[in-house]
């Protein structure tokens, strides 16, 4: 159980680790990935981040990620399993999730390039805790900003759709009962209150009946 209440500690992280294929000769690149992965996990834990799972990059990765629903997925830039995550990105593209990479290359142009390429953040290896936190925070901030904008957009669209429904229902009432616009609106309101429904809901019902009988 975590002792501190820092906001960063509620961030649920999944770290993806390399898989050694049976029968493969030892590989310098893979060994380097394992080393970077270990350093990262230690650094994250020391910074108080919540590593929900440390998963192998095997065929069950998509399923496990779907079950865990992490806020952040961290994977080595040189991992061959990045393509597996690509599949997840496309399959879940209506639910954005930042994918964060980490690597040995700490040159700023690479970081800028990665950010520009759509990677949410880019972590440098040799990971001292002080270096991890700010970068993860940037990733999370951008993710949350994006989620907020998407939610606002969805909300706006929804409200607009509801407005249209109410307008059309008013039109139906005005036509059928020879009411003025204000009278029709009041009628809708009282119907809604009587049936304990939202304005848009009662409006939709009126339109449905109109479709059936009109």
């Amino acid at each position: 159980m975590k002792l501190s209440q820092h906001a960063a500690r509620s961030l649920r992280i999944v770290v993806v680790n390399p898989v050694v294929n049976e029968g493969d000769a030892p590989d310098a690149a893979l060994a380097a990935q394992f080393q970077r992965g270990n350093a990262l996990r230690i650094g994250l834990l020391e910074s108080g981040f919540d590593i929900v799972a440390s998963l192998p990059a095997d065929i069950f990765l998509p399923e496990r990620i779907a079950q865990l629903q992490p806020d952040l997925i961290i994977i080595d830039a040189e991992s061959d399993a990045r393509d597996v995550l690509e599949h997840i990105v496309i399959a879940t593209r209506d639910e954005r999730r930042p994918i964060v990479m980490f690597t040995d290359d700490d040159s700023t142009p690479s970081m800028d390039a990665a950010m520009a390429a759509g990677v949410s953040a880019y972590i440098v290896a040799g990971l001292q805790p002080e270096r991890i936190k700010p970068v993860l925070n940037v990733a999370l901030a951008r993710f949350r900003q994006e989620q907020k904008l998407l939610a606002e957009l969805s909300d706006t669209r929804h409200k607009l759709a509801e407005r249209k429904i109410v307008e059309r229902a008013k039109g139906v009432l005005m036509a059928h009962h020879k009411l003025s616009e204000e009278q029709a609106y009041q009628k809708l309101r009282s119907m809604a209150m009587n049936k304990n429904l939202k304005l848009a809901e009662i409006a939709q019902r009126i339109l449905d009946v109109e479709d059936l009988l009109g």
């Binding site: 294929n21 065929i59 991992s79 990045r82 690509e86 496309i90 390039a113 390429a117």
Partner: protein, 382 residues
């Protein structure tokens, strides 16, 4: 030696590739010094994932790459990753990929599309098939083959992206029932005794487009001379490979090394020479095996090839709306630059921007009426 007016803007060209047999023309262009002949120096960078190739192309860490045709169009249309204007400089190869089914499935009678469909009906369970990238060539060919057999790749089976090096192990363990990938993986599954070849990619579409020489549109715009030199070098490398079996064998030796495909000669050699076996005793000499040049027929960036990937992306719901198929292909495929490089190397250029092909289900694709073609399939996302 480059002509004065065509001096490359950038002499050192960083080109990415994946360790697959069809990276051969790129490797040989470097090994044979064909790059230096045209005033550039290719620096090859082996990558571990298509995602890495994509990010490095768009981010500028790589100038160009051996890359999946479908991936380039996917990035250009913003499917999954951030949208970026991309360029196809040339087609690198045709044919030579394969659809492999597990021995367990073969033992139950699934040896091709029709028998697989029958097995799915008689023994329903979750069947899982692997591809190499969600928008890539292998995914599109696999889905096409499944659908041609009456199997819905989105609803009747589970399609997953698996790194090629893991495909054979997963087949052995029973986590995958089949996969579509490039060589050496198809033949490797046979040699390891875990898979059988249900179909070659050329069976699905004879002389289908393969990997391309891809780059960001930005890089091509700022380095046209460098790109032209690169295409010229690759045309000559492809020509050299296709020239003779002796050249193909020499090429096999080179690309088998750990720096490139990192596999045994016996794993890639036979299929490079067109010698196929399916793991069930059938052997044949394939008339449409992997080829890199074929007197220019392979390399032209036909608009209809690019458009085909767009139609299949649309078919499977990766694109939510119909794009302007022709306009997109005309923007991505660098036909003019290719023609100039072809002229420099005495490569024949076809008269048409489109070519006509008949695929495994009997459907003809010739680049006309792309929107109707995309919507014409009985099995699709809609």
């Amino acid at each position: 030696m480059a002509l004065a007016g065509y001096r490359p803007e950038k002499e050192t060209v960083r080109v990415g590739f994946m360790p697959l047999t069809d990276c051969a023309s790129l490797v040989m262009a470097s090994v044979l010094g064909l790059d230096e002949k045209h005033g550039i120096k290719i620096v090859l960078r082996k990558e571990a994932s298509w995602s890495a190739v994509r990010d490095k192309l768009t981010g500028g860490e790589l100038d160009a790459a051996h890359v999946l045709y479908g991936l380039v169009y996917g990035v250009h249309m913003g499917v999954g990753a951030q949208q970026r204007a991309m360029a196809v400089l040339m087609n690198l190869s045709q044919n030579g990929q394969a659809i492999t089914l597990s021995r367990q499935l073969a033992a139950r009678g699934a040896l091709d599309g029709a028998s697989l469909a029958a097995l799915l009906r008689s023994e329903p369970r979750r069947y899982t098939f692997g591809q190499t990238f969600p928008t890539g060539n292998h995914a599109m060919l696999l889905y096409y083959w499944l659908a041609a057999a009456g199997i819905d790749p989105l609803r009747d089976v589970q399609a997953v992206t698996v790194p090629p090096p893991q495909m054979v192990a997963n087949l052995r363990a029973g986590h995958l029932d089949g996969f579509c990938a490039g060589e050496p993986w198809g033949h490797r599954a046979l040699i390891d005794g875990v898979g059988v070849t249900a179909a070659t990619s050329q069976q699905v579409w004879p002389d289908h487009p393969g990997k391309v020489l891809g780059a960001s549109a930005d890089f091509v715009a700022h380095h046209p001379n460098t790109c032209r030199a690169l295409v010229a070098a690759l045309l000559e490398a492809g020509r050299w490979i296709d020239e003779s079996d002796a050249n193909k064998q020499a090429m096999t030796e080179v690309i088998a090394s750990p720096a490139y495909v990192n596999t045994g000669r016996e794993v890639i050699g036979p299929r490079i020479l067109g010698q196929y076996e399916n793991g069930l005793g059938k052997r044949w000499q394939d008339p449409h095996s992997l080829r890199f040049h074929a007197d220019g027929a392979v390399n032209f960036p036909y608009l209809s090839d690019g458009m085909w990937f767009l139609t299949q992306h649309r078919r499977w719901g990766l694109l939510k709306d119909d794009p302007d198929y022709l306009a997109v292909a005309a923007a991505v495929n660098q036909v003019r630059l290719y023609r100039e490089a072809a002229e420099m190397t005495g490569t024949r250029v076809p008269g048409n921007l489109m070519r006509r092909s008949t695929l495994i289900d009997g459907t003809v694709w010739d680049g006309s009426d792309a929107q109707a073609y995309a919507a014409s399939f009985a099995i699709g996302a809609r």
